[in-house]
Symmetry: C2
Subunit: 247 residues, 2 copies
Amino acid sequence: MTITKQKQPSCFVSKLTFFLDLSVEEGEALADFEKNERAVARGEAIYREGDAADELFVVKSGWLYSSRYTDSGQRQVVQLRHPGDLCGMHDLILTSRSHSLIALEDSVVCPLPQSSLKDLMRAAPRAMMLINGLAALDHVFLFDLVQAIARTSADDRIIYLLLQLLHRLRINNAAMDTTFRLPMNQTLIGDMLGLTNVTVSKSFTELERLGLISRDRGTVTFLELDEAVERIDFRNKFDNLDVQWLQ
Amino acid sequence: MTITKQKQPSCFVSKLTFFLDLSVEEGEALADFEKNERAVARGEAIYREGDAADELFVVKSGWLYSSRYTDSGQRQVVQLRHPGDLCGMHDLILTSRSHSLIALEDSVVCPLPQSSLKDLMRAAPRAMMLINGLAALDHVFLFDLVQAIARTSADDRIIYLLLQLLHRLRINNAAMDTTFRLPMNQTLIGDMLGLTNVTVSKSFTELERLGLISRDRGTVTFLELDEAVERIDFRNKFDNLDVQWLQ
DNA sequence: CGGGTCGTTGACCGTGATCAAGTAACGTGG
DNA sequence: CCACGTTACTTGATCACGGTCAACGACCCG
């Protein structure tokens, strides 16, 4: 399967192009990343904590989440993944998976061997560097999450998650305004933000009461986006990128 | 200044060699990373949140921490850095720093331009890949921190931090047993674990009362290491590495 | 109609935050 | 050598946010 810009741009290449113009050769080197496809049903695991770690996965469609369980059975969600994301990079030098990767809804992923990165480094060093840069960006997002969990109230954590999602989803859909689909249930949201489903429910109700957001079965709308941004001092990192030094 | 294995192995090369045997050529390509030195006094910032992000820093000696401040002036420490670590990778594609890098005690760092990575990729792709792998490992450690903060008690968070430090420090000093120097004050520990200095103090006292650890002005000893490991289900990721695919 | 998932709401409780006072260790200058 | 100031740590009293438990309601799909 060849990928041409006109016909069906791959979401991975399309996400990378959001950040950096890629040459035809670079695009071709990346085409291999989506040679194979695998469908995963909602709730199904692509891999689980402890599995051997030797593959990467490009998300083609759907939403996924990375999670781990504590001794006592508590779940912690550490990351959400959307179309165009590359999953599995964290375990690059680990023998076994540090987390499970689960489909939040029916999804399609493209598996590839970890060692493809070595080839890519030779064939398209600039693209390889960008991929590393995006992994580093994910790292920074995790800083944000740590800070939100450790230092802010339940209400503010919810706002943080919603704002982060809004800006992430805009990368795939530039036309998006302030309404987006949120296919996560409240237990999952709580497990990501260090809250219980009960607190998530109460916080959502409170945010609606304040007029910051509104909800309509699975979609969320920011009614007062600026106020939300200011309230938690949110900085959209996607607006603050510099990839020029990669040239 | 040339670096020879016999005389004075650089701590960066020495840390990388802990994970992967490097060739002479690869060692030479990495020597550039420590061409320049800069001393920083305790409490001094190497860079601050918002500064331009175009340099990297190899830690030569001392301890550093990465932190950020919330709107309301609360500090969140997101990472500790020790000799041999490479700092600044997170902001690879960001224009401005996502966090401040502060010296925890008098330290020496080696600044280098971000663009050195491009050269390294050509000259020593394997080393470049290992560096990316170690950045990915840091990412996983942050998963651990998120989980500790979001889902465990104050006492358990302290145990987590102490165990993680113990294993990290063993990389620089293979002879280390269960005693190590802890130059962090309790406010800083609290700011890392999402606690106050008061709670940190009380938790330390409790852990001593339980006989798990003992303290002696700036040093900590695990009296019951196995019990501590089991109590929080701690996994030492440094024992679980696979760099063979880099060959 | 029935079962399951998901969200809502209320009562109560517990961990850690906050506030405050006191102590210990250490460096500086007289 | 001691007086003093600073920083770090300890301990106790009180408070509040979010957890826990439980009941109920909305919605969906068979």
